[in-house]
């Protein structure tokens, strides 16, 4: 499991799809927002928490279909399935690698990018914290969706369709936490709820994904 995790991270870094790219995508979304919405500073500060969360979500989403897709196409997944490693562990290793290369850098960079959108540093800290708690859920749910759409070619959009409604609660609580913080209100309830979603996803989804992978390889 550890080996698979490190291999996946190695592959991500090696093929130029590592830590940097998710970040840069995030940056670009943040940069495009003022173009799309107009440059008014106070308006930007108002939308900043939501936009940053949405950007993180989309950055995750863009890289989902590669979680299992590449291994499926070149036959590695068949071989992994016949190896002593259970498919549940394969799922966990891959979701973890995805989080480390996507969610973690996004969470760490978010407070800095928040400055571009006129977000206060205090809110930025809450943003970072909420992303740290929430992006594991995004990776776990996303990898689950990827395991469902494995056999479908051009499954990218289907994957988005399946996964996005599942992302709704995480997004709501995440944006809510930062929003409350930026208004000076308490924000611990949404944070706890995000954590609960991440933990719940980690508890249930490995089994669901294991079954889905086995079915898809059949």
């Amino acid at each position: 499991m550890i080996q698979l995790f490190t291999r996946d991270i190695g592959l991500a870094v090696r093929s130029g799809g590592g830590f940097g790219l998710a970040l840069i995508f995030f940056l670009i979304v943040v940069v495009l927002i003022p173009f799309a919405l107009g440059p008014d500073q106070s308006a930007l500060a108002l939308v900043a928490p939501g936009v940053l969360w949405l950007g993180a979500l989309l950055a995750c989403l863009l890289s989902l279909d590669r979680i299992f897709g590449l291994d499926y196409e070149d036959g590695s997944l068949d071989l992994l399935a016949t190896s002593p490693l259970p498919l549940e562990s394969v799922y966990i290793a891959k979701a973890a690698a995805h989080w480390l290369t996507t969610g973690l850098p996004l969470a760490l960079a978010a407070p800095l990018l928040g400055i571009l959108l006129n977000l206060s540093f205090e809110s930025g800290k809450v943003l970072c914290f909420s992303l740290l708690l929430g992006t594991p859920a995004l990776s776990l749910i996303g990898a689950f969706g990827a395991s469902l759409t494995l056999g479908v070619k051009r499954g990218g959009l289907l994957l988005s369709l399946l996964v996005l409604p599942l992302y709704v609660p995480t997004l709501i609580f995440g944006a809510q936490a930062v929003h409350s913080a930026s208004l000076g209100q308490t924000f611990d309830v949404p944070l706890v709820l995000i954590l609960a979603i991440s933990l719940g996803a980690a508890a249930i989804l490995p089994f669901a994904s294991g079954v889905a992978l086995r079915v898809n390889l059949r």
Binding site: P165, V168, P169, I172, Q176
Partner: protein, 256 residues
């Protein structure tokens, strides 16, 4: 003693339905009656509601939309629950009929969701001055629509039937958990304009919030929508079973 054995016999008879042959026979026999009942209830409920109910003092004639809106909303939710149960039975007992019923339920459920959304939107314009607000109940329905769409799209995207059955069932299971979570999240996020539930059944009796004039045709119409759902469900499941049989025959053809 006797009662347990009766319930056990009923239970066994119920599972007999999972046999495609038994199901085809049973559903074929009941379908004509069901169609008749559906037409009866739906027509009487809607005609009564549309023609023979007074206008509400606040909402004017728009109150007549309720005879479509509420039953459709009800069936949209029940459809999802049915899909969930069908999927669960498939995953546990590998009964094809149940998963095919879930498959057949999805498009009807999605249509019901669309009707609830559409009539709600049309109702919203005169009542709230806008077609759409991000009210929790409305939002939940939009998410429900997405769940239906995802479920149907996943069925459509996978060639092999048993694979598709397994994967869509897993999706339905995980989806229900997240649908409930979304409902909670949405309530947390926004309070909203939509009325609370006024049609409640407490000990079989209705509460006083809604007057009998409106309530009786609404009840008929709700039963009608339910029957329509059931009819379409049976027709759809029968088609799916036949389609499976057709595939088997074609596969056999291929081998010769």
């Amino acid at each position: 003693m006797n009662s347990t054995s009766t319930s056990k016999r009923l239970w066994d008879a119920f599972w007999q339905l999972a046999n495609p042959k038994v199901f085809m026979g049973w559903s074929g026999r009941w379908l004509p009656w069901l169609v008749g009942l559906t037409v009866l209830f739906l027509a009487s409920g809607l005609i009564w509601g549309f023609f023979f109910t007074p206008d509400d003092m606040r909402q004017g004639s728009t109150v007549k939309i309720i005879y479509l809106h509420v039953p459709a909303a009800l069936m949209a939710i029940n459809g999802y629950l049915l899909m969930f149960v069908g999927s669960l039975v498939w995953l546990i007992r590998r009964q094809h009929v149940s998963v095919l019923a879930a498959k057949a339920a999805a498009p009807v459920g999605m249509t019901m969701t669309l009707i609830a959304l559409g009539t709600g939107a049309i109702w919203g314009q005169p009542m709230w001055g806008t077609y759409w607000v991000w009210d929790p109940r409305l939002t939940s329905f939009l998410i429900l629509f997405l769940f239906y769409a995802g479920y149907i799209a996943l069925w459509a995207a996978i060639d092999d039937d048993d694979t598709a059955a397994d994967l869509t069932s897993i999706l339905a299971l995980v989806g229900l958990v997240f649908a409930l979570l979304s409902r909670y999240a949405v309530l947390f996020w926004n309070q909203g304009l939509h009325q609370g539930t006024t049609v409640t059944f407490v000990d079989g009796a209705k509460q006083e919030n809604i007057s009998n004039v409106f309530f009786q045709p609404l009840l008929l119409s709700m039963v009608g929508f339910g029957l329509l759902f059931l009819t379409l469900l049976l027709i759809g499941t029968r088609s799916e079973l036949r389609a499976r049989r057709l595939k088997v025959l074609e596969a056999r053809e291929r081998m010769q």
